[in-house]
Amino acid sequence: MQKDNLNLKRSRALVRRETISAYLFLLPCLIFFLGFVIVPMIMCIVTSLFNYTMSEFTFVGFANYIEMFKDKIFLQALKNTIVIVVVSVPVVTAFSLWVGARIYRINAFTRSFFRCVFYLPVVTGTVAVAVVWKWMFNKYTGLFNLVLKDFGLIDQNISWLGDERTALWCIILILFTTSIGQPIVLYVAALGNVDTSLVEAASVDGASKFQTFWHIKWPSIMPTTLYILVITTINSFQCYSLIQLLTSGGPNHSTETIMYYIYYQAFKLNRYGYGNAMGVFLAIFIAVFSAIQFKVTKSGSES
């Protein structure tokens, strides 16, 4: 009995000692994390309930949130953002799966060549990439019009970024080129880790290539697919830089995204409270969207 008590005391002391040393190790990253991620997050939620501008700071409850749903430009931005996400997430995922599946078993040199090339637009940086795309989409000297005219597909020059019908699609195309690098790397790694004995057993049993893929490889790369879906969703929802650099939300708000509108409200009109309310809305929207993806893919892989 006494011995047990002593042990308990000693282990408690041990736990305490270990807790203290753990937090000492965690201290530097906790300072940065709390200071520059958690604090602004809380400030974001709190100030979204205020009429917060350069001169004013008054509590208004949910007025910002209510205004949001009456704001035509916000609703347009929401629609555009959803179009971007709904188009780019499946396309990015499917395309990178295809590239990943094609290159993961070829020789190491070619594989890393393709991996690098598809990563290039990300590394080159949004600003530099946007410089080139802006020229390619240019109405008078741009490459697109030149090539399409040479092939006789169009006879009038198109102002790609200046036309309501095409501008958003141009953004989606550029976003695509800057989004597939990471998914391809992840798929190549995941496919390389699929248990080869299962694959061999299946081919001995006479399974076709497609059957092997669908019944063995696809389920085992499911966690990777889920991760790719979530990060691509988050990135597509946050599309901002390309729009700031190429169209400024125009023409006629046709490329306005929520992210762009938030910063327009906050930094051009100094309406911080309203901007933060939209930010909170966006965060919740993304969380719900990701949760649905989890549910759907989980139930899909179990059935």
């Binding site: 040393s21 190790f25 990253c29 969380a287």
Partner: protein, 277 residues
């Protein structure tokens, strides 16, 4: 196990051909930036694009350097290097504690880190800007560095790598009477070194390219980064396309060289950082 001789099916040939075409298209922007930076104004504005500069010259760079472009480049290097160093130190320590120590609040803390990673980080930039002005750091390079270090991806990645440390080795060190700091430096660090390499290169590249954060936090001429500088040239002197190309080349080439040199680590970082479902 019979080695089958692999025959190339038509599918294989066609798809690899398509991939090569795509590879050319994907490298085109970079090719265009680099060649464009050596073209003269006539070649750049020509109705028929010059696929290769006919009289390459460095005039664009001369005009570019009349702006404080080297200063911008230095700023980009500075924020990336400092963010990299601070992230590696704090994440290696934190990741080790999360993976190998048993302590009160461990599960909770880890959950908070993972949830924070799933949040859109750009959303908090308005309050972050206010916080930085409050701390007197707005429009200093620290306003870009500190939030980059706070992002929990690094801790998460280092936790994954620290899981591989054999617990027996840590036990043995403790029995031998090694202190915490000593154990960390002599046992933990050598084992998680590849992880630190991966995190270092990842942080360097993402900080260098985080245009949005830089745009919000920095605005005076002398504090611009190379990305901001090119964007500024593009909006203010959009007719001097050659100079803008030179700026883009100056910003893109160093980071691409770094990426190519360390791409093995970089790929490893991305792969290990993927949350296991």
């Amino acid at each position: 196990m019979g080695q089958k001789i692999k025959r190339k099916t038509p599918y294989d040939v066609v798809t690899i051909f398509i991939l090569f075409i795509l590879a050319i298209l994907f490298s085109f922007p970079l090719y265009w930036i680099i060649t464009g930076s050596f073209k003269d104004a006539a070649a750049i504005n020509a109705a028929n694009p010059q696929w290769f500069p006919k009289n390459p010259n460095t005039d664009n760079f001369v005009r570019l350097l009349k702006n404080p472009a080297l200063r911008w480049l230095f700023n980009s290097v500075f924020i990336s290097v400092v963010a990299m160093g601070l992230t590696c130190i704090s994440a290696a320590m934190g990741g080790y504690a999360l993976a190998k120590k048993r302590f009160i609040g461990q599960k909770f803390l880890f959950t908070v880190f993972v949830c924070a990673m799933a949040l859109p980080k750009q959303v908090v930039l308005i309050p972050l800007l206010k916080e930085m002005s409050f701390l007197g750091m707005h429009n200093t390079l620290w306003a870009v560095i500190l939030p980059a270090v706070g992002w929990p991806f690094g801790v998460f990645l280092m936790k994954q790598f620290s899981e591989t440390i054999p617990t027996e080795m840590l036990e043995a060190a403790r029995i031998d009477g090694a202190g915490e700091a000593n154990t960390f430096l002599t046992i933990v660090l050598p084992i998680v070194k590849p992880g630190i390499g991966a995190l270092a290169i990842f942080t360097f590249i993402t900080t260098w390219n985080d245009y949005f954060l830089q745009l919000i936090m920095l605005n005076s001429q002398k504090n611009l980064t190379i990305s901001l500088g090119i964007a500024k040239l593009q909006s203010e002197m959009s007719n001097d396309f050659g100079m803008i190309m030179a700026g883009a080349a100056l910003g893109a080439v160093p980071i691409i060289l770094i990426f190519l040199l360390f791409q093995k680590y970089f790929t490893q970082g991305i792969t290990m950082g993927a949350v296991k479902g």
